[in-house]
C-alpha cells in the first residue's frame, strides 16, 4: 500500500540519517533510528498502526532523552513530530536545547580533512565556528552547545565527536 506523505517524509529523513549522518557512536541513536526506520518500512499500512506508533514514540523518546549529542535528539523529535501529525499542519519542530551537562565530549574539526568551505560556520546556531575560507575552521568549545548540526552537514566528514 502507498505510504502516506508524512510516513514517506519520516522515512526519507531516517534513511538519510542512518546511512549518512549518524556517527554511530551511541546505542540509542544508532540502533534506535535503525529500528524506527525498520518499523516504518515493515508496516503494511499507509501510516503506522496505533501499536506501531506506540513503539516508534517509545524509541523516539528514548533517543531524545539518552542520545549522546543533539543530532540524534533532533532527528528523533523531527520524525515523531511528522508522524504524530498525520494529515494535519506541519508542526514547528522544537529546537534542540542543550542540557547543562554533556561536558566531557566535544565536537572537533580535523584540520587535515577540513577544506575550509565555511558551511558549518554558516549553519551553527550559536556561531561557534570561525575560520578563513579554504583554511581549516575551528570550533569554540566555550560556545558550542553540542547540537551536532555541523557534523551532520560537513561534506568532507571532517567533524567528529571526541572524548
Amino acid at each position: 500500500m502507498e505510504k502516506s506523505p508524512e510516513t514517506q517524509k519520516a522515512l526519507a529523513v531516517l534513511e538519510k540519517f542512518t546511512s549518512d549522518q549518524c556517527c554511530g557512536k551511541c546505542i540509542s541513536c544508532r540502533e534506535g533510528t535503525r529500528q524506527m526506520q525498520q518499523i516504518l518500512t515493515d508496516s503494511p499500512l499507509p501510516s503506522p498502526s496505533e501499536e506501531e506508533l506506540a513503539l516508534l514514540s517509545e524509541l523516539g523518546t528514548l533517543i531524545d532523552h539518552t542520545a549522546r549529542c543533539g543530532l540524534g535528539k533532533s532527528i528523533a523529535r523531527q520524525v515523531l513530530s511528522v508522524l504524530e501529525h498525520q494529515g494535519g499542519d506541519e508542526r514547528v519542530i522544537e529546537e534542540y536545547l542543550p542540557g547543562p551537562y554533556q561536558e566531557l565530549i566535544f565536537f572537533d574539526i580535523d584540520p587535515k580533512r577540513c577544506k575550509g568551505c565555511s558551511k558549518c560556520s554558516r549553519l551553527c546556531p550559536v556561531h561557534a565556528i570561525t575560520g578563513v575560507i579554504k583554511q581549516p575552521f575551528v570550533i569554540n568549545h566555550e560556545l558550542c552547545i553540542k547540537c551536532g548540526t555541523c557534523m551532520m552537514n560537513c561534506k568532507f566528514g571532517a567533524i567528529s565527536i571526541k572524548d
Binding site: 556517527c23 544508532r30 528514548l62
Partner: protein, 564 residues
C-alpha cells in the same frame, strides 16, 4: 568536594571525576557497558543515564559531580530505557550464547539478565562478519561486538599501540584494525588487555585447549607443565576462593588428575632468569655499555620495543624469559635422561598471558631447531579444562610442585607483580643474607603502585638507578625521556600489562572489581614464607650450573637470534 542527592539520599564526594563514580560509591551498581575507570570517558552505551530534579537527562559517566546536584537513578522510565537499550543492542547482536566463548561469564549477558530482558521487540539486524584468527594470541569475532570502544581506548590510552579503531559510521560502524587489516598485520603486541576490558565475546583468547587434550590422550607422549607465579593467585577466583588466594598446592593435584605427569613451578625458571640477568647487569655496569639494561621477560613489551622503538633493541637483556629458560632446561634434561618408556616430551606452560602464545613461536624460542615450549595455556583455558573434566579446586588435596625443579626462591615468585623482577635482581646485589637490606629494598619504591616508579638503591659502595614501568603508554613515555637524555637509569623493568602479569591478558576477569592488590599481596606473602630469599641461595641452581648447564648457559638460557 561537595555533596549531592542521589535517590533522596545525601552523598558526599571528594575527587570523583564523574557522577557515575559517586553513584557507585553510594552503593548503586548502575549498569554500564562502556565505562572502564582507567580509560577515557566515551559515553556509548547510555545505560548510565540519570535524571535531575528539573527533568533533564544525562549520561552520568560523562558529567563531573557538582555540589548540590539532585538526581534520580531508577525512575520507572529510566529502568525502561535501560531495558530497551539492551533490547536494541541485542537485536543487532549475534546472541547465540550457548556456543559463545563468553557464555556464563559475559557482561552483556549478565546485564540482560539483571535488567530482566525476556524478549526482543525489534527485528534482528545482525550482520555477518568474518572472524579474525590471524593473531597467535587473541581472536576477534566482530559479530559479537557492541561497539563500546573499550578495546580501542585500552589499546590507545593505556598501551599506546593503537591497533584497533572505529571504521565507518552510522549502522555500518565497526571496530577493526585500520584499513580493515587483520590483527597480525598491525602493531598488535598480543598483550590481551583489550580482551580484559571487552564486555562481550568479541575478543577472546586464542585457545589451544583441544591440542593439549589431544597431547594428553596420546600414550606416546609424556606431558609436563610449568605454572607461572601469577596463575596461582588468580585461578581460585573461579572456584570461590577469596581474591588473591594462593592455590598452587591444590592446582598441582588437579593438574596431575588432568594427566600432566609432572607439574613444575615457573618460579624456578625465574630463578635462572634472575641469576643470568644479575650477571648481565654486573657486566654492563662494569663495561658501561648498553645501559640501561632493559628486562626482556615480557614478550608483549619486547614486541613493542622492536616495533616502536627499535633503536633500543641493544638495551634489551639477552636473557630468555623464565618460561623459555625452563622450557629449554626441561628439553635438555629430557635429552640427558630420556623417558624409560621412550615417550616424547610435550612441554606445556600455564601462563597469565596471551602474548606468551606468540613468544613460544618466535625463532629465538627454539634450541637446536626444536621449539622449547609446545603449548601455552592461559589461566582461563586451564579453568576451562578443569571444569570440563568435572574437577574443582575446592575439594582438591594439596601437593607440592614436582622435583627435580621443586626448589625455588622467594625472588622467583614475586616476578608475577610489577616490580618483582627488579626486586629479585637487586636482591642478588645485596651481600649475604642480610635481612635488613632485603627489607630496606622493599621500601625504596619498588613496591609502589604507580605505572612508572624510579628509585636509587645503594648496594655496597655503588648506587643502582632503577625504574619499574608497567603499561606500554608508560613505557613509551620512559623511552622517549631516556632518548632525549632526560632520564638516566642502570636498569629498567618493563611489563606490558598495568600492574604486571598478575593482571595479564589471560587471567580471569572478576566482576568484583580490580584484583590487583589481592593478587600482588598474595605473591609478597608467598615470598615471606620462603626460607630462600635470593636466587643465589638456591642450592638447586648450583647443582644445575655444575651439571646440565655447564658450558651451555648461553645456548639454553639466552636468546638465540639465529633461529637454529
Amino acid at each position: 568536594m561537595g555533596s549531592m542527592i542521589i535517590d533522596g539520599i545525601r552523598v558526599e564526594f571528594t575527587d570523583e571525576t564523574n557522577v557515575l563514580t559517586v553513584i557507585r560509591k553510594a552503593g548503586i551498581d548502575l549498569p554500564t557497558l562502556c565505562y572502564v575507570s582507567e580509560l577515557s570517558v566515551y559515553g556509548a552505551c547510555r545505560l548510565c543515564t540519570v535524571k535531575d530534579e528539573e527533568g533533564r537527562y544525562f549520561a552520568s559517566c560523562t558529567v563531573r559531580p557538582r555540589d548540590g546536584m539532585n538526581i534520580q537513578t531508577n525512575t520507572p522510565e529510566l529502568r525502561k530505557y535501560r531495558r530497551t537499550l539492551l533490547e536494541l543492542l541485542l537485536a543487532s547482536h549475534d546472541r547465540d550464547c550457548t556456543v559463545c566463548n563468553k557464555n556464563g561469564d559475559c557482561h552483556l549477558q549478565n546485564l540482560a539478565e539483571r535488567m530482566g530482558v525476556r524478549s526482543i521487540r525489534f527485528k534482528s539486524a545482525q550482520e555477518h562478519h568474518d572472524v579474525d584468527n590471524s593473531s597467535n594470541c587473541i581472536v576477534r569475532t566482530p559479530s559479537k561486538c557492541i561497539l563500546c570502544g573499550d578495546c580501542v581506548r585500552m589499546c590507545d590510552n593505556i598501551q599506546a599501540v593503537d591497533a584497533l579503531d572505529f571504521a565507518g559510521k552510522g549502522v555500518a560502524t565497526l571496530v577493526t584494525p585500520a584499513y580493515n587489516r587483520r590483527l597480525a598485520e598491525t602493531d598488535c603486541v598480543g598483550c590481551g588487555q583489550c580482551r580484559v576490558v571487552c564486555p562481550t565475546g568479541a575478543i577472546s583468547i586464542k585457545s589451544t585447549v583441544d591440542e593439549v587434550w589431544a597431547a594428553l590422550a596420546d600414550p606416546k607422549n609424556k606431558v609436563v607443565a610449568q605454572v607461572a607465579p601469577a596463575v596461582r593467585t588468580a585461578i581460585g577466583d573461579r572456584f570461590g576462593f577469596p581474591a588473591g588466594k594462593n592455590v598452587m598446592n591444590r592446582l598441582v593435584t588437579v593438574m596431575h588428575r588432568l594427566g600432566f605427569e609432572e607439574v613444575y613451578d615457573t618460579a624456578f625458571g625465574a630463578d635462572l632468569t634472575v641469576t643470568e640477568e644479575s650477571r648481565e647487569l654486573e657486566a654492563r655496569l662494569a663495561s658501561g655499555e648498553k645501559l640501561p639494561l632493559f628486562t626482556s621477560c615480557c614478550p608483549a613489551w619486547v614486541r613493542f620495543c622492536e616495533k616502536k622503538h627499535p633503536e633500543f633493541i641493544p638495551n634489551l637483556s639477552t636473557c630468555r624469559s623464565p618460561m623459555q629458560m625452563f622450557g629449554a632446561v626441561l628439553r635438555a634434561w629430557d635429552d640427558k635422561s630420556p623417558d624409560e618408556k621412550g615417550r616424547r616430551l610435550v612441554s606445556v606452560a600455564i601462563m597469565p598471558c596471551t602474548a606468551k602464545k606468540d613468544e613460544i613461536l618466535r625463532p629465538e624460542s627454539r634450541t637446536n631447531g626444536r621449539q622449547d615450549v609446545d603449548y601455552v595455556l592461559t589461566t582461563e583455558e586451564l579453568i576451562g579444562m578443569i571444569q570440563s573434566y568435572g574437577l574443582t579446586l575446592n575439594g582438591a588435596d594439596k601437593d607440592a610442585a614436582d622435583m627435580p625443579f621443586g626448589i625455588t626462591s622467594g625472588a622467583g615468585l614475586i616476578f608475577g607483580a610489577s616490580g618483582g623482577v627488579t626486586e629479585a635482581v637487586l636482591r642478588n646485589f645485596i651481600a649475604g643474607h642480610n635481612r635488613q637490606e632485603i627489607d630496606a629494598l622493599k621500601k625504596v619504591g619498588v613496591r609502589e603502585e604507580n605505572g612508572v616508579r624510579e628509585f636509587t638503591f645503594r648496594c655496597g659502595d655503588r648506587d643502582i638507578r632503577a625504574a619499574v614501568v608497567s603499561g606500554l603508554r608508560n613505557a613509551d613515555m620512559v623511552l622517549n625521556a631516556i632518548r632525549e637524555g632526560g632520564k638516566n637509569y642502570d636498569f629498567v623493568e618493563f611489563m606490558a600489562c598495568p600492574g604486571g602479569c598478575i593482571m595479564g591478558g589471560g587471567q580471569p576477569v572478576s566482576s568484583h572489581g580490580n584484583m590487583f592488590r589481592a593478587r600482588r599481596d598474595s605473591l609478597y606473602e608467598a615470598d615471606i614464607n620462603m626460607q630462600i630469599k635470593k636466587t643465589s641461595e638456591n642450592p638447586l641452581l648450583d647443582t644445575l650450573y655444575a651439571t646440565l648447564l655447564k658450558g651451555r648457559e648461553h645456548e639454553l638460557l639466552h636468546r638465540n637470534m639465529t633461529g637454529n
